[in-house]
């Protein structure tokens, strides 16, 4: 797995210059608790053989807004909606209520509430 560090400010530019739908596919987003902070990850994989998994990551403060990448990766809304519900990540223009019911308490996967 190739990990590439990015920042909230440069995320969209970094992904736009990397992502080519004919070469890579977007797999999923993930978040890992790192003490008071969270590491947010975006996973891509090559179509080629042998393939390589690429992970863009950045550290954020809890509650900090993460830019949506829906305008770069059309299918990213599913992964963003999941992260909002399960990890209580604040993703730009993404509402609660896709993986959990809208009135459910967000972030059931968080160790530190």
């Amino acid at each position: 797995m190739k990990k590439i560090e990015t920042s909230l400010a440069t995320l969209k530019n970094d992904l736009a210059s990397f992502y080519n739908p004919a070469e890579h596919h977007f797999m999923v987003m993930n978040a890992v608790e790192m003490g008071e902070k969270m590491e947010v990850q975006w996973f891509f994989c090559d179509y080629a053989h042998p393939c390589e998994t690429t992970c863009f990551f950045t550290l954020i403060e809890r509650g900090e807004e993460v830019p949506s990448i829906k305008d770069i990766v059309d299918s990213a809304w599913v992964a963003e909606a999941e992260l909002v519900d399960l990890m209580n990540i604040n993703v730009e223009n993404t509402a609660k209520g896709f993986v959990l019911e809208p009135d459910f308490e967000s972030g059931p996967l968080l160790k530190k509430k």
Partner: protein, 362 residues
């Protein structure tokens, strides 16, 4: 523009096998917009795996994520844990994992095909396909001890060896199944009534499949050549046992049926080659190490790419486990492919996606 109606389908509906909710906006019986929700069956399995269970027990927990592709989950988790432990499993264990994965693919694909037939109004074909599928369940029971949720892959290898009499039984039952498979291919390919319900229905183009990151038979039926077995061989040597990519171009329900049927033929070839070339070795690599660092694994489950991410901190309990199921990747494509189809075709289209909400919501 005609009057638009919203039609909710699910979470409980006669044509849905899974607790999934679609809200179709229709105009003159045609679907013009679809919304989906998957929020009915979240079970907190990732959280349980990182708090209640030791990392060696987790392979048994993730085997309960899904009844159908349980072997894919246990194998993918075992592989990601083995990466964290930095161990190589015995070659015989790799072959046995491939054997069970392919047996599982046969039974999963036949289940999907039977439901497409049923939701297309072809009840007799549903019964016939389910009847023919039974042999794969019996073989899985003979190999693993269970008809579903087989605790076969564990961290370091597999739990059971393949007895010679079971290997003979598999080969005989496959020989017996081959004419039945040819019969099914003939019906799904040529039956006129079924073609009315399946051809040109639920179509997705290769470009849209690529744009929406679709995976599995759903993608391959549209001509998008994506299959983890073709892209990576470091964990399981697919190509040395006869793996071959199956694709189609039409991207409709009929093409998805045909891809699944032809993939069953490939699975049978792989199973025969695995048995013929089964290496002699131990079944498990023992280690007393604890998982450290982070790793990812991709594995081709019957419905498509399964992805595991794990992070260990040198203790018995994982820091983080993330599971991405194939249906999760296909949600965007599923919503897209309903557009411009008759509402009456929705049940067959849904069945042809082969959605699994147990995996998706976990």
């Amino acid at each position: 523009m005609g009057k638009q109606y919203e039609i909710p389908v699910g979470a409980q509906h006669i044509s849905l096998l899974e607790p999934l909710h679609f809200r179709f906006t229709t105009e003159n019986e045609k679907i013009v917009k679809t919304d989906a929700n998957v929020f009915y069956v979240h079970r907190g399995i990732e959280q349980a795996c990182c708090s209640k269970f030791k990392f060696r027990q987790v392979s048994f927990v993730v085997g309960r994520v899904c009844g159908l592709c349980s072997i894919s989950h246990t194998t993918a988790y075992s592989q990601v844990a083995e990466k964290l432990l930095k161990i190589e499993i015995p070659r015989r264990a790799k072959y046995l994992r491939m054997l069970v994965i392919e047996l599982d693919r046969i039974h999963s694909h036949l289940l999907c095909l039977s439901h497409v037939a049923e939701n297309s109004g072809f009840e007799a074909l549903f019964m016939k396909t389910m009847q023919y599928r039974e042999f794969s369940m019996e073989l899985l029971e003979a190999v693993c001890g269970n008809r579903i949720q087989y605790d076969f892959s564990i961290v370091g290898g597999v739990t059971r060896d393949l007895k010679p009499e079971v290997a003979d039984m598999i080969l005989k039952r496959l020989d017996h199944f081959m004419p039945q498979l040819e019969e099914l291919i003939g019906i799904y390919k040529n039956n006129w009534t079924l073609s009315l319900k399946n051809k040109g229905v639920g179509r997705i183009s290769k470009e849209d499949a690529m744009r929406l990151n679709v995976v599995g038979p759903f993608a391959r039926a549209a001509g998008l050549a994506v299959d983890v077995r073709n892209e990576t061989e470091d964990l399981l040597p697919w190509k040395e046992v006869g793996y071959e990519m199956i694709t189609d171009t039409a991207g409709d329900v009929h093409a998805r049926n045909m891809v699944r049927l032809r993939e069953i033929e490939v699975s049978i070839r792989i199973i025969r080659n695995v048995i013929a070339g089964l290496p002699e070795s131990d079944l498990v690599t023992e280690t007393k190490a604890f998982p450290e660092g982070e790793a990812t694994v991709r594995l081709e489950a019957p419905r498509g790419e399964l992805f595991y991410y794990a992070k260990g901190n040198k203790t018995q309990v994982l820091e983080r486990l993330k599971i991405k199921a194939p249906t999760f990747s296909n949600v965007a494509g599923m919503v897209h492919a309903f557009t411009n189809n008759e509402y009456a075709s929705a049940p067959a289209i849904i069945a042809s996606y082969d959605p699994c909400l147990s995996c998706t919501a976990r």
